[in-house]
Symmetry: C2
DNA sequence: ACGATGACTTACCAAAAGGTGAGTACCTTA
DNA sequence: TAAGGTACTCACCTTTTGGTAAGTCATCGT
C-alpha cells in the first residue's frame, strides 16, 4: 500500500478517494456547477434571477440543488420578509474557496491531449 | 454577465461550468476515484490486483469503470500475451496530471467549517 | 372578489446509473 | 479428462436522479 501525501493528513488510496468523493457528492447534480459559477465573485442572486439565468431549469430542480448546497454549507440563503417574497442566494466563504480548486480541474480538462488512434 | 478569468480562455459561467462538468463526467462513478488513487504514482496494477484492492467491486463494474477511463484517455491498458492472461492498468501522463487538481479539492473538503445549523 | 407576483411543494413518471449472478474462452497442470 | 486461473461478457433487476405539470400561500392593486 502506497501512502499519498496530499493535503494535511496522510492519506491512503481509500481515505483520499473518500475525501474527494465527499466533495464530488456536494457538486454533482445536473445544475450545481452552473449555479455555482453564477454565484462566484460574491454575487447575490434572487431565485427568479437564477431561474432566468438557467433557461432550462425547472423550479423544482433549482430549489432542490440550492437546498442541497445550502445544507452542505456552500450556499447561503438570505430572506427578505416582503410581499411579494424576496430571497437571495450567495456563497459562503467556504463556497467561495471552491473557485481555485475548480479552476485547476478546468485547467486539467483543457490540457487534454488529442486521443491517439 | 460577469466574466470569469480562470485557466487559459475567458470563461462565462456557462463555459466554465461546462468545462468542469466534462471533468466531472470523466471522474464520477462509484469506483473511479478509488481506482485512480490506486494508480497514482505511476503504479501498474493487474485486473486481479485491483479486484482484490477494491473488495466490494464486481468484475463488471471494475472493467466498466476502467474502460470508460481508458476511453477518456486517463488510464492506459497494457496487455501481455500470456496464458493465463495478464493485463496491467496504469495512468497516462494526463491522468497523472489530475493529482494536484484532486489534491486541491481534497484540501477544500477538509477545510469545511462546522455547519452553524 | 380577482388576478398578479414570487418562492416554493407535491404527485407522478422516465431515464440513467449501479448491482447480481451466471457464463465464456483460453491454455496449463494434475 | 477434469479442474483452475485470468480477464472478461451478458441478461436482468433495483435504486437513484432528473423532469413535467400542477397546486399553495400571502399580500397588493383594481
Amino acid at each position: 500500500m502506497v501512502s499519498h501525501r496530499l493535503s494535511s493528513p496522510d492519506h491512503t488510496a481509500a481515505t483520499a478517494a473518500e475525501g474527494v468523493e465527499q466533495a464530488f457528492r456536494m457538486l454533482e447534480g445536473r445544475w450545481k456547477l452552473l449555479i455555482l459559477f453564477h454565484l462566484f465573485g460574491g454575487q447575490l442572486r434572487r431565485f427568479s434571477d437564477l431561474e432566468r439565468a438557467l433557461p432550462d431549469i425547472s423550479q423544482k430542480m433549482l430549489i432542490q440543488q440550492l437546498r442541497q448546497m445550502e445544507g452542505d454549507g456552500i450556499v447561503r440563503r438570505i430572506v427578505h420578509h416582503q410581499v411579494p417574497p424576496k430571497v437571495e442566494y450567495g456563497l459562503t466563504d467556504w463556497g467561495q474557496a471552491l473557485c481555485p480548486a475548480l479552476d485547476s480541474l478546468l485547467a486539467w480538462a483543457e490540457q487534454r491531449p488529442p486521443l491517439a488512434d
